[in-house]
Symmetry: C2
């Protein structure tokens, strides 16, 4: 059972609930409170899985943990309203370490004027685990993964691949850009790219009940993907599709609105494909031929 | 630096924010959303710290993780509206383990009609870590730790001590009782007893800016504390004050209201002392003499 399958199993075990208009399976959940809709997310960052304290500072680890969670807020075009932190600290760290970790968390949250409202700290004889929960608020209609329609343009912010060279620790969650884009035109579906386009686009398509065609020549490839390709002899496109940890926005909208969101957003936005009816995902190469969808991405761990 | 000091340091680092009427330092935080007040909590349960998988099943571990967080909801007299789960799974567990863990979480949440709305799962080569975040809703005035006044009666639900003999894995969060009590009379302050009365009452007093006198003869001692005392030759009262993990409610109210909350609550409620002016905490023995406040409780771990 793969992680993805386990989350699907959990989703399947969770009965529909009128108080929960968006449950397990989107970037955030939505819960109805009297007078408002609360968006919620939890996300963990573990030493040697999501960061490595042999090379990263505690500030960097804390900042990444918070920014990963804020990237999910961006994916719903929502404003983060509050953050909670839970930290399992190795028993041998000192006070400076704990304070530096917290300072990294706080700086990341303050960049989006988001207060840290609660926390839990415990010591254990295992590695550092940081868990971040976010509360967000949005307009009446949060942007989910579920609304993509055949004919929609598929767009991404920024460029993809090679984040492991360093960007995975230093990225900026696309909260500002998400709100610029969502204000400029109706978005049908959106998510953040955490596990790589090859894994994440099928998730969006599955939630929306659609297929997709991506034009490989249009995929915006990051300079880091080219550098990594030079090192490991893997094509830059494979890095852009499979590496993960881009934390860019993937979104779908009417083709006529693409120019408008490009004009509204400070970051480059690339149209790289279109949503089609059915459930198939295809990669169209520069000669017009269709290639099978690449396997891989970050989601490769499995439970026995 | 002790865990408690670190949380106080974090609280001191967190600027006041009009959007956050209750921040770090109470059982839950409160965040203003348009039209409602969201109560939030995060809490972790770690293998060999909060449970031990050598003796506990994954169901029990999951249930305890959720119930610890729900106990904080009880402490604010709030109704849990949603739960988020984050699980760092040891890489060598199988699918049955993961499903049993989730089943334990779900059963605990369903006991209070609380939906699990989101989650995060990752595998690592370390021990199991479960983090639970809760969203709660309440009336316009959640019951905090900060409102105790000189002259208030100090009460607890149930009885205390010796939870390590087994109750710490099987307790029921006092959500129902908290709502019965809060509906019966105005509560000035409340918290749940997780680290032991000896540690938790000073926290409530510090937040309220008051002192307290506890009559040792009135402390309700659990049968488990007597059994443990028989095993380790430590007085039962010391267990009742210091053991922790009781997950009972500690609350303060006008003395005239004690009978009313006792009548409203299905569990026994014991009046065991009173709030006084100042900041001192004293233990009054059966001869009327004052003893110094016991040190200890669960909060004994320190950062270097």
């Amino acid at each position: 059972m793969r992680e993805n399958d386990f989350l699907e199993w959990i989703a399947g075990q969770t009965p529909a609930d009128p108080r929960v208009p968006i449950g397990v399976g989107d970037d955030m959940a939505a819960v109805r409170l009297p007078g408002s809709l609360a968006l919620l997310k939890i996300d963990q960052a573990l030493d040697r899985v999501h960061f490595d304290l042999r090379t990263a500072s505690p500030q960097q680890a804390g900042a990444k943990a918070v920014n990963r969670c804020l990237s999910d807020c961006a994916a719903m075009a929502c404003q983060p309203a509050a953050i909670l932190l839970s930290v399992a600290l190795p028993a041998d760290v000192d006070q400076d370490f704990a304070q530096a970790l917290f300072a990294g968390c706080r700086a990341a949250a303050e960049a989006f004027a988001c207060p840290i409202v609660g926390g839990d700290t415990a010591l254990w004889d295992q590695r550092l685990a940081i868990t971040v929960a976010a509360l967000g608020q949005t307009g009446p209609e949060p942007v989910t993964r579920a609304g993509a329609r055949p004919g929609d343009a598929i767009c991404v912010t920024g460029s993809l691949g090679g984040a492991i060279l360093g960007r995975h620790m230093t990225f900026t969650p696309r909260i500002t850009e998400a709100r610029q884009i969502a204000a400029a035109a109706p978005l049908h579906a959106m998510m953040d790219l955490s596990d790589g386009l090859a894994v994440d686009l099928p998730r969006l398509c599955r939630r929306s009940g659609v297929g997709a065609i991506i034009e490989s020549a249009q995929v915006p490839i990051h300079a880091d993907a080219h550098q990594l390709a030079f090192q490991d002899q893997t094509p830059p496109l494979a890095h852009a599709l499979g590496d993960g940890e881009d934390y860019e926005l993937l979104f779908c909208l009417a083709p006529r609105d693409v120019a408008r969101v490009q004009a509204a957003c400070a970051l480059p936005i690339t149209r790289l494909g279109q949503i089609v009816a059915g459930s198939e995902l295809l990669l169209q190469d520069t000669t017009g031929n269709y290639q099978p969808w690449p396997q891989g991405g970050w989601e490769y761990k499995s439970l026995r």
